[in-house]
């Protein structure tokens, strides 16, 4: 009996002794709290914010793997999200493919775009700022292409063919089921992110981020692992895009090939939370969307654009005062707590 009683406590102690595991635990506790919100939040407006908050954590993880782990300066990550969104809605509207399958096909299509991007940038040796510019140029080119492409709705865009709600169609009367789908995706994302972080592949990603030449000297095929990071991140963004379009029920080129949404949906959460850290997308994500909405709610009636000025200033302040994000600040406290704990043990 005693061992049975002690084991959950040991389990917790084991997790808390390891900062990486602690970050995963914190992430899941936060997801658990989000899962309870339907008990208090009845307003569809606020529920919508909770759903997008959760989705932005998932999409933030996808960018965190590319930019945070492997250190590639991927700015316009949103092209991959857009590919996932378009694939899902076209498959559903035109071919009647259930979104449950469609969003994962969207992930595959986005992953393939990732392969193309990796191939071109490696072939022509585009690194760092050139790589960043290439991704932005690609986004602009794709936006123009999609504006002219009638099959995917052209400039009019594409709305989800709404019919009777149904689980198989991923269309619901209430907002709550969307929340649980987003939570499911995000839970998978957190597990995948941790598995990558702990694996050989993850160590190789981080070695490349820290020093590409030194990584190559230790036997790391830097082209291969840069490509892998990009494809994994792209595929996850594609899945996120698939869910995004099912939730907002509409997609048009200026909406998804846009640097503003790119920052909000992909970059803000990991940057506020701590780029390259495990809990970064979650800790940043719970601040990012609610704050953006709060600012929008307070200032939307005033001069147009003032919302973006305040939101942008907030991001700049977050970067200035928390260069390693919320996770970096928490890590400082964690180390102090660890030191006090070991100190007490030595005294006792």
């Amino acid at each position: 009996m005693e061992t049975l009683k002690a084991s959950p406590r040991n389990w917790l102690q084991n997790i808390l002794a390891d900062w990486d595991k602690t970050q995963v635990l914190v992430s899941f506790v936060i997801l658990g709290l989000i899962a309870l919100t339907p008990l208090f939040i009845k307003s569809p407006y606020y529920m919508g914010i909770v759903i997008l908050t959760t989705l932005y954590i998932f999409t933030g993880i996808s960018w965190n793997i590319v930019a945070g782990f492997s250190g590639q300066l991927l700015i316009a990550h949103i092209s991959f999200l857009a590919f996932g969104a378009y694939t899902t809605i076209v498959l559903y509207n035109t071919y009647g493919v259930t979104p449950w399958v469609g969003i994962f096909i969207g992930g595959i299509v986005a992953g393939l775009l990732g392969v193309v991007v990796a191939f071109i940038t490696l072939r022509y040796g585009l690194k760092m700022d050139y790589f960043a510019l290439f991704t932005i140029a690609l986004m602009v080119a794709l936006k123009t292409l999609f504006l002219k492409w009638k099959f995917v709705g052209g400039a009019i865009g594409m709305g989800l063919s709404l019919s009777e709600p149904g689980f198989g169609k991923m269309i619901f009367d209430s907002k709550v089921p969307y929340l649980y789908i987003a939570l499911g995706l995000t839970a998978l994302g957190i597990i995948a992110q941790y598995a990558i972080y702990q694996s050989k592949m993850g160590k190789y990603f981080m070695a490349i981020r820290e020093d590409e030449a030194a990584a190559a000297a230790l036997g790391v095929n830097t082209s291969l692992y840069n490509t892998l990071a990009l494809v994994i991140g792209a595929a996850m963004a594609g899945v996120g895009g698939g869910f995004y379009v099912m939730y907002v029920t509409f997609v048009e080129p200026p909406q998804v090939f846009d640097l503003g949404l790119n920052v909000e949906i992909l970059m803000a959460a990991p940057i506020i939370g701590g780029l390259g850290s495990l809990a970064g997308p979650v800790l940043g994500g719970i601040l990012n969307k609610p704050l953006a909405e709060l600012i929008r709610g307070l200032l939307a009636g005033g001069r147009s654009g003032s919302t973006l000025i305040v939101y942008g200033s907030f991001l700049i302040l977050a970067i200035l005062f928390m260069p390693r994000g919320v996770t970096g600040v928490l890590h400082g406290f964690y180390l102090k707590w660890q030191r006090r704990k070991t100190g007490n043990k030595q005294e006792g």
Binding site: S199, D211, A215, A216, A217, L218
Partner: protein, 243 residues
């Protein structure tokens, strides 16, 4: 048996010939020292052998295979690993993870790689620093870490580019002892070094490079007495001390 052979390698940067028609060979388990004045082309030669530069002319043979034009990671997989003159730790990773990246060169298994990394860190006397971030290490610690990382890749031969530069005499002695132990395990070494004490106490043979060309080769004692070497690099005093 010959492990590494460079045949007539030449590297030109525009009009500048950094290395001209250089040939050298290293036998299994041998320590070859490479010396020469600053700008002589030592590091360029190094970069050609390890796959960072493609030679304009000539071939590099390692362990019976032509490795000319292979990528650095492919060269490392074959068992030829290098360090960098300006050490390149992965600063935001722990010391253990730094070495782990090297250990994954020979295995995909996490447990096995971690065990190998820990063994090597113990061998280098860094067993108590495993969780520390590499960015926080002292200069001497970074130099040791650089050696730990290449050792972890399981090499047949290591190219050491000024592994002792910037160290205090006592630290230098410690690294000399480490290199000797590594050599005794059957690993061949190519040392590029300015500290003559290191070369004299470790190298089985020496090649001297000046203006991108080999001007002398042979036993350390003989080479330091060579008139051309003294004029180009050592000067009279060092030759007398070393001799």
């Amino acid at each position: 048996m010959t492990l590494l052979e460079a045949h007539n390698i030449t590297k030109r940067f525009g009009g500048l010939v950094a290395v001209n028609d250089l040939s050298l060979s290293v036998s299994e388990g041998e320590i070859l020292g490479m010396i020469g004045p600053n700008g002589a082309g030592k590091t360029t030669a190094f970069n050609m052998i390890s796959g960072y530069y493609q030679p304009n002319e000539g071939r590099v043979i390692f362990d019976g295979k032509d490795i000319t034009g292979l990528r650095p990671d492919q060269v490392c997989k074959l068992g030829l690993a290098r360090t960098f003159q300006v050490v390149k730790p992965f600063p935001q990773l722990s010391v253990l993870d730094n070495v782990l990246v090297g250990a994954y060169n020979r295995t995909n298994d996490k447990q096995e790689a971690q065990q190998k990394a820990r063994e090597i860190l113990d061998f280098l006397g860094m067993g108590n620093m495993t969780e520390q971030l590499a960015g926080g290490l002292s200069v001497a610690g970074r130099k040791r870490l650089e050696i730990a990382k290449v050792l972890a890749t399981g090499p047949k031969m290591i190219l050491l580019d000024e592994a002792m530069a910037g160290l205090r005499p006592i630290e230098t002695d410690e690294i000399i002892e480490l290199v000797r132990q590594i050599s005794q395990q059957g690993v061949a070494l190519l040392l590029v070094e300015h500290v003559m004490k290191v070369i004299m106490s470790l190298a089985d043979r020496i090649v001297v490079i000046h203006h991108g060309e080999k001007i002398a080769e042979g036993e350390p004692q003989a080479v330091v007495q060579d008139k051309a070497v003294i004029d180009a690099y050592l000067g009279e005093e060092v030759a007398n001390v070393a001799g």
